[in-house]
Each structure stands twice: as structure tokens, then as C-alpha cells.
């Protein structure tokens, strides 16, 4: 190196100095020329009957905010819409409906249960568990509460508590529900083979029953769980079959669409992801998958999508939210190609949730950096079904 060049002195400190100087980006502002200019899409697909109904209910509730049955109705509907459309504004409406009970010691059980559901949707797991435990104290036979408790504990990788909760469902709840609740713990703890067999059996029994539209949600849930688990085990043909079966039951369920998109991406079939999600572009929860698929399909980073995602993650961070950590880590790893940032986010996410996807993401980020301590730490952890974490240099099986 020709160190007579003064620039050699500058390389290192310059790099360090520039780090902390990312400016806050302002949006482009304009004044429209014509009254007919569209300035925002406020509802996708116009105003639906469900929209109007919820709006009317909210207005009625605003006049009587402490009416429990009305509050429950609004909270439940808003929560369902929020989950269904991955739109947090509805979650805000649910929270508003429950607000009068916020600091009260006595909360009616159904309201408390919806609140627990809202908490876990916002990834506020300790608050969700506190509400669930209180519900179960008042009503130890509350199967919904046990079911939710089993799932929250599973997500947090507290499998002993999850099993205890799920055991409460055996023999008392619907077979398919109980099976799925137990299966999800099995899948998380490396017993995916057995879990898949149980799910297959329970779904077979289900299909022999007369068709019942009210059971569609349960069937979609269990079928998707089975499909994801089969995919994890590397059995992609039956996995594909199950994904399609679930989609035939409910073609718009966002979780299912996301899971199937992830499966297709893992199969290196990005074009099919774009087709699958084309009709659901309004589902913002699927934007990351779309961007990833389009990057893989064309080899070009979709700049607009990447900018929008980056701004969304920045805003969420500034808001103090931790709901997006998994998605953000994935974004940094696969779209921004920033393994170090991705690893930091995946680690932070690992503190909050420990599902198979979280494990794989942390592993992938740690390999990309590479970060040996993290990889070794993960080796100690029970790996998700079909996932064999291999340290660099270890022989391929």
C-alpha cells in the first residue's frame, strides 16, 4: 500500500464517521392541480357491508362506551378484521372498545379473553398470559383460554407450560382442535413426524363428517399446520397437496398465503408466488414475499417495494413496536443484503419468539455473517422439524 497517499489515513476513520449520519427522510409534498386527483385509497375495493356495519357499531358504542356486550361485539369484530387483513388500524379500534375496562379490577371474562387475544396479536405476550391466567382462575374449564395459552407458550418456547395447557383440551374440546394444539408443540420440539400423522388422522376423520361451513377455519388452520410441517420435513409433494387443499377451503387467508408463498420460495418457484399474491396486493402483510419473489424472479431489486418496506420498518421502529422483527430481519438479509443488521434483528426477534421460522432465520443470518458463537448456540437448541443445522466444515449427511 502506498501510504504516502494521504487518503490511506482517511479510509478507516471516514467509514466510522459516516455511520451515524443517516438523515431523516422527508416525503415529497405537493398540492394537487385538480379536484379529481385521487390522493388516497381509503378502502380497498370500495365500501363493503361489513365496513358499514362495523362503522355503525363503533358509532353506537361511542355513545355508550361502557356497554359490555356492545364493546365485546366491536372489539371482536375489529380484531377479526385486523387479523384477517393484517391491518393494525382495526386493532386500534378493538383497543378503543376495550379501553373503559383498562384499569378496572373486574373485567367480564369474554372481554378479558378478547383483550388477551389483542395482546398476543400485538406480540405483548406477558400481558396476554396475565389476562389468560385471570380468565382461567375465574373459569378453570375455559377451553378457549387454555387453547390460547397453549399457543402463546409454544411461541415463547415454554413447552412444559404449553403441554400442560394443551392437555386440558384432550377429551373436552373438539378432536381436531385438541390434536392441532398438541401437534404444534410436537412440531416445535422436533416430533414433527408424529405430529403430522396425528394431524392427518384427525383431518381424515374431519372429512368423513358432514360439511359444516362453521368448521372451515379449524380445518384451514390444521391443514396449513400440516402443510408447513410436511414442507419442513422435506416432503414437498404432500406439502404442496395440503397447501392447495387449504387454499381451496379459504383462498384469502393471509397466514396461509404467506406460508404457501414461503414454501414456493423455498422451492425456488418465485414466479408462482407472484401469481399467487397478484390478487392480494392490498394485503400489505404479503408485500415482503412479493418483493422477495420479484427479486428472485427477475434478479433485480424491486426498488419501490424495497423503499416502502424500509420506510415501514423505520416507522415501526420509531413507534417502538417489536412486531416486525422477524420480517425486518428477513428483509435486511434477503433484500438489503445486510447480514450484520439482519443478525442483530434476528437475535432481537429470538428473544421474543422462537418458532421454526425464527430459528431458521437466525441460523441463515448467522451463517451469512458468519457468526460462529450464534451458530454454536443454536446447535444446542432443538432444531425444527427436518432442519439440520450444520456448522461450517461439518460433513453433509
Amino acid at each position: 500500500m502506498n501510504w504516502t497517499s494521504p487518503r490511506c489515513l482517511l479510509f478507516v476513520p471516514l467509514g466510522l464517521a459516516l455511520q451515524g449520519f443517516a438523515p431523516v427522510s422527508g416525503a415529497t409534498v405537493w398540492r394537487p392541480n385538480q379536484d379529481s386527483d385521487v390522493i388516497a385509497t381509503v378502502r380497498t375495493g370500495g365500501s363493503s357491508a361489513a365496513d358499514r356495519e362495523l362503522r355503525n357499531l363503533r358509532q353506537t358504542l361511542a355513545a355508550n362506551p361502557t356497554q359490555p356486550s356492545l364493546a365485546l361485539e366491536v372489539a371482536q369484530r375489529a380484531l377479526d378484521r385486523g387479523k384477517r387483513e393484517a391491518d393494525p388500524r382495526f386493532l386500534g379500534q378493538a383497543e378503543l372498545a376495550l379501553a373503559p375496562w383498562k384499569d378496572l379490577p373486574d373485567v367480564p371474562v369474554p372481554l378479558r379473553l378478547v383483550r388477551a387475544n389483542l395482546h398476543q396479536t400485538l406480540h405483548n405476550f406477558p400481558a396476554a398470559l396475565a389476562d389468560l391466567n385471570q380468565v382461567l382462575k375465574e373459569d378453570p374449564r375455559h377451553l378457549q383460554a387454555w387453547l390460547m395459552k397453549a399457543t402463546v407458550h409454544t411461541v415463547q418456547s415454554d413447552y412444559t407450560q404449553a403441554r400442560t395447557a394443551a392437555a386440558q383440551l384432550l377429551g373436552k374440546a373438539d378432536d381436531l382442535v385438541a390434536t392441532a394444539a398438541i401437534a404444534q408443540i410436537g412440531i416445535a420440539t422436533g416430533n414433527a413426524e408424529a405430529a403430522c400423522r396425528q394431524l392427518e388422522r384427525a383431518l381424515e376423520q374431519e372429512s368423513s363428517r358432514p360439511a359444516d361451513p362453521s368448521r372451515t377455519a379449524v380445518r384451514v388452520w390444521a391443514t396449513t399446520m400440516l402443510a408447513e410441517s410436511l414442507a419442513g420435513l422435506g416432503r414437498s409433494v404432500p406439502a404442496e397437496h395440503r397447501f392447495r387443499e387449504a387454499l381451496s377451503l379459504d383462498p384469502t387467508e393471509p397466514y396461509l398465503l404467506a406460508a404457501y408463498a414461503d414454501f414456493l420460495l423455498s422451492q425456488n418457484r418465485p414466479e408462482e408466488v407472484l401469481t399467487l399474491l397478484a390478487a392480494h396486493r392490498s394485503q400489505d402483510g404479503l408485500r415482503l414475499r412479493c418483493a422477495e419473489a420479484s427479486y428472485r424472479a427477475t434478479g433485480e431489486r424491486p426498488t419501490h417495494e424495497v423503499t416502502v418496506l424500509a420506510e415501514q420498518f423505520a416507522a415501526a421502529r420509531a413507534r417502538g413496536e417489536r412486531v416486525h422483527l422477524r420480517e425486518e430481519a428477513r428483509f435486511e438479509l434477503r433484500l438489503q443484503r445486510q447480514p450484520a443488521r439482519a443478525l442483530a434483528l434476528a437475535r432481537e426477534n429470538w428473544q421474543v419468539q422462537k418458532e421454526a421460522a425464527d430459528f431458521q432465520l437466525l441460523w441463515e443470518a448467522a451463517q451469512a455473517v458468519p457468526d460462529e458463537p450464534t451458530l454454536r448456540e443454536l446447535k444446542e437448541w432443538p432444531a425444527p422439524a427436518g432442519f439440520v443445522p450444520r456448522l461450517p466444515g461439518e460433513p453433509q449427511l
Binding site: 405537493w30 370500495g46 371482536q76 387479523k83 379500534q93 377455519a217
Partner: protein, 414 residues
Amino acid sequence: MESTPTPGSGPWTNPLEHCPRTRRLVPRTGHLRHSLGLFLLSFWLLSLAQAHTASTAYLQVSAMSDRISGRLELPLRDLEDRFGLDTNEDGQLTWGEFRRRGAEIEAWVRRGLVWSSGTNALPWTTAEWQVSQRQDEGYAVLDFQVNEVAEVQLTYGLLWDQDPLHRCLVFWNAASRPGQVLALSPTDRTWSVPAPGATTSAGWLTLVREGVHHIWTGYDHLLFLLALLLPAVLRRTPTGWAPVGDLGSALRDVIKVVTAFTVAHSLTLILVTLGWVSLPSRWVEVTIAGSIGVAAFANFRGRPRLGDSGIREILTSPWAVAFLFGLIHGFGFAGVLTELELPPGHLAGPLLGFNLGVELGQLACVLVFVPLAFALRATWFYRQGVLPVGSALILLMAAGWVVERSFGLGFMPL
């Protein structure tokens, strides 16, 4: 709606679960199995994050010396929900639909967003409504100005009565703490606009960093110093440059140069920032470029000559050159600080922080350079290579800059 039972009326009642496909309420059957199944609808999405951003207002605030100016951006979706702006209910909000209600919306904004000083509400002026786009969503934009800077407080209360998850992100820009972001929430509704110049330790550190940043990226200051320090590990003899014997004498020279440069530029930095002296910036920039050339040129005179005196004497004592031209470099540093629009009357803290940053950045470079130069001082490489070639390169750069800056051209790579 087919049923609205009272909550808590039975062991298994969560009767308000509704069917996902028809969006109708399920009649209460007392059947545990059914209600549990339906319950899952709202339950299993657990891990799908909302990549959709929640309701967020953006408030950019900048403090000037005599006023606060800013920009408020409110999500149009929330305004539509509150005011029912989409009159034809097609899901597309047009500028006309919004504009017709503009005055009403502004009045509502003024009720919910209050600037105050002590117990007095402060008047604030607004420009006309505009729009913006963030993350593919439309925003209504209101630029505003508050003609007061002392003890100003913001109380924000918009939209929380319709969405408690709404947040207002405040982007605060002022010289004392650039680029700060905070989130206002229902439990944290007020924000005291920091008094101008009331630098917090974080803001002060930012200025220190700004100083370091400036010295490391303003190559001209470092090149000037480098030109002066290249011969510090050597001494002039009648036969040319010879290595100094011990580190002590090299360090003495280095310290003399660095101290002279520091004292000189700090002096003018303070004088200019306080507004006591000023020079045209082009003149300053050209002289800075010239000073680098002078410093580099002096390195070609290895042998002292008989009769060296006056200007020559000065040229061959690097500390004198450092001091003389350091005064001019101080004007250059001050230019950066002036760009930050520091409010008058609160300059001491920021000035000190910035200056400290400059000195730290300079010291770091010296600490990298001196040991290397000392180790290599006796080599042919240093005496015949680094010193003359390095000086020549610096001289060339300086000449380029002089021309560039004199005529306002832009051909130099740095």
C-alpha cells in the same frame, strides 16, 4: 346481527364469534365444540406481523433563532374515517372531496394540537393544505410556524379517540440535537421543545461527532497538517534531511505544530462564530488551498541557507506556518458551524463541542501518522520517497484546489 347476548352469561359464552365467510354472528348453541372452532379464526394468525404500518402522524419541527417551523402529516385514511370524506364511497379519496372539508379539518387539528408557553396558548400560522405519499399511503400535509422559541410546549391529542394505537412521530431538527425522533402516545402527549442552545449531553456529543466528521472529511485541513508533519521526524542539515535521534525531539516538533494549528484555528473559530470578524468565504477557501501548497513547498528546502531570514525563516519553521494559516483554517471551520444555524446567545456549548471534535479527529490522525513516520524516518523510502513525492502530490492537489476555488470550477476529485 342475530344475537347480542350478555357477556359472562355462561361457562362457554363467547357468543359474539362470527363466521368468517358470511361475517354473520353465530347463534349461541351452547355447543362448546362449535364456538371453540370458530374462535380460531381470530387466533391462529398469531405470527403474521402487520407489515402494514399502524396509524402514524409525522411531525417535523425545526427551531430557528426566532421561530419554530414545521410540517404535520396526517394519514388520510384516518381523516376519512373521522370525517367521512369519501362522499361517493368508492374507496378513492379525491383532492376535491378533501379540499371541501379542509377548513373544518384544520379547525379540528387546531383543537387537538396545541402550542403553548407557560399557561398561554401560542398562536400559530398555517399554510394551505397539501398532500404527500408515505409507504404507498396518502397523507394530508399542513406546514406551520410558531413565532416563539422560549419554553414552547406541544400538546398532541389528535386521533387517539378513534385509535389508541395511533402515534405521532416527532422529528426534531436543531443544531443542538439534529435528527432526534420521539413518539407521542396517549400516555405521553406533551413535548417540551428544547430551548434553543439548551444542548443535552446527547446533542453535545452530536456536535463533537460533527467536529470529528468535519476534520476527517474536509481533506484540506488534514493535508495541510500532513504537509507540516512530514518533516517532523527529520531535521535539516547542511547535507540535507537527516533522521532525528529520539522520539522526544520528533514529538516536540509535532506538538509545536499541532498546538500552533489548534490555538490559531480555535481563535478564529470563536471570533467568527461570535460574529466579531468575518471574511468572504471564497477568499478563505482559496487561502486554505494556498496554505497547503506553501506548507508542502517548504518541504523541498532540506538544507538551511546562509542568510535565511524573514519569510524564509517562517517557511522553514512549521509551527509558524501552522499558526499563521491556522487562523485562516479557523474561518473554514466556522463556516460549518454557521450552516447549523445556532441560535445566538447559546453558543458556548455547541462551539466547545464542535471544537473538541475537531481536535479529537486531528489528534487521532496524528497518533496514526507519527509512530509510522518515526519508524520509517531513517529509511531511504521515507527521506527520498515519502517526503518529496508526498509533498509534491500535496502541492499538486493544492494547486488544483486554488484554481478550482478561485474560479468556482468543479474538476477536483475530492
